[in-house]
């Protein structure tokens, strides 16, 4: 067998072995993710969320009878149900739970904290959810949960840096269009290019799914000689467009990464 064939065969064997142990069985005993300690339990839960890309129901149980069921997709918690808030019986499905927004991060964190306190022998079970994510559902990102649970960067620390990034960008951008500026829509820089950015914003794709709603920046480059690079920044519900010289790409990314709360 050629080397590439051997590699494929090895990979296939690994996949089959993984399928044999996969825990997509909401009725099974589940996989132990932590033996205890609130901090360790929280980290283990966050890791499970962070590793979930396809939409799944992720159910955590502990030795004290605590149960938390999450609807997770693209590393974001879309819904949550727990035995404490639901009343008596542990949740067997998330059917009645309402969808979350980014503002629910604190409430979700408190639910997970309550589940984690004094818990030992925490297990997880998962099951794929085939239903599409309803349009406009944002959920709570694993990063936001990390900040609430593990005491990382406070949420309100971002507000200043967004304004700072806009100011920094204005110093070198050809044009900037700020749809939700404090004074309403604003165009700065070259007027014609700014109007192109404004037109792009008017035609921007309707937001679908959790991923497109998360704070992030997309940069398009390589549009031809003398063409600018174009950035679309989605941050704290705001949408900004920037056109700048390709040579300023690193600088532009650096200032917006900071505004988005990059760990550095």
């Amino acid at each position: 067998m050629p080397d590439s064939g051997l590699e494929d065969a090895t990979r296939l064997a690994g996949v089959l072995a993984g399928l044999a142990t996969v825990t997509d069985d909401i009725c099974g005993p589940g996989r132990r993710i932590s033996r205890g300690g609130a901090g360790q339990v929280q980290k283990a839960i966050l890791q499970e969320i962070d590793e979930t890309v396809l939409r799944r129901q992720v159910m955590f149980t502990n030795d004290r009878g605590g149960v938390v069921a999450l609807d997770v997709a693209e590393r974001r918690v879309l819904r949550v149900s727990d035995s404490q808030s639901a009343g008596t019986a542990p949740p067997s499905s998330l059917g009645n739970a309402s969808f979350l927004t980014g503002e629910d991060a604190d409430a979700v964190a408190r639910t997970l904290e309550a589940f984690s306190v004094s818990a030992t022998d925490v297990h997880v079970r998962t099951a794929l959810i085939s239903d599409p994510i309803p349009a406009g559902v944002i959920g709570v990102s694993s990063h936001d949960l990390s900040r609430h649970l593990l005491g990382e960067t406070p949420l309100n620390a971002q507000t200043k840096t967004v304004e700072t990034a806009i100011a920094e960008c204005r110093s070198f951008a050809f044009a900037l269009f700020d749809r939700d500026g404090a004074e309403g829509e604003q165009i700065t820089g070259q007027a014609a290019m700014g109007r192109e950015l404004q037109a792009l914003d008017a035609a921007v794709t309707a937001d679908n799914g959790a991923d497109s709603q998360a704070d992030h920046c997309t940069v398009w480059a390589g549009l031809g000689p003398d063409a600018p690079v174009v950035l679309l920044v989605r941050c704290q519900g705001r949408r900004l467009w920037v056109a700048c010289d390709p040579e300023q790409l690193e600088a532009c990314i650096a200032c917006w990464a900071n505004a988005l709360g990059s760990p550095d």
């Binding site: 080397d3 997309t218 398009w220 480059a221 549009l223 056109a243 990464a257 990059s262």
Partner: protein, 135 residues
């Protein structure tokens, strides 16, 4: 698919070399955007096919999606779609670089938030050129 089967070790070697050149590079995948298929990959840590497929999907949306089309219509001076796209959030960066030899193929790179994007994109172009020359 045939080409990758024939030269798979070569492509894999190139991806390994690319990834180890940049300390902040977590994963690099050579993908066919038209089919959404990852043809070869190299990762710093063990990862799942699910994650690689998601990486390829992000590349397809970023380079060929509606927003990319509109940006190209408004700003492209060569009537072409974006050749590169960078997507970043609080914790990581994704760099997607389209092949000049076959615009359906691209290198999809996941790296740390402080990785040098322009250096990575330049190196990605070289890797794609090398792969394209082997056809």
């Amino acid at each position: 698919m045939h080409r990758v089967t024939v030269n798979d070790m070569s492509v894999k070697d190139r991806l390994d070399g690319f990834r180890t050149r940049f300390a902040g590079c977590k994963a690099v995948a050579f993908a066919d955007l038209s089919t959404g298929m990852v043809l070869s990959s190299s990762t710093r840590e063990k990862t799942t096919q699910e994650h690689l497929d998601a990486l390829c999907q992000k590349a397809t949306v970023s380079l060929n999606g509606d927003d990319a089309t509109r940006v190209a219509a408004a700003f492209s001076t060569s009537r072409c779609m974006p050749q590169t796209a960078v997507l970043f959030d609080r914790t990581q960066q994704y760099c997607f670089v389209r092949s000049a030899h076959d615009n359906k193929e691209a290198l999809c790179i996941l790296c740390d938030s402080d990785a040098p994007v322009t250096d990575i994109m330049a190196a990605a172009v070289q890797v794609l050129d090398a792969i394209g020359m082997e056809v």
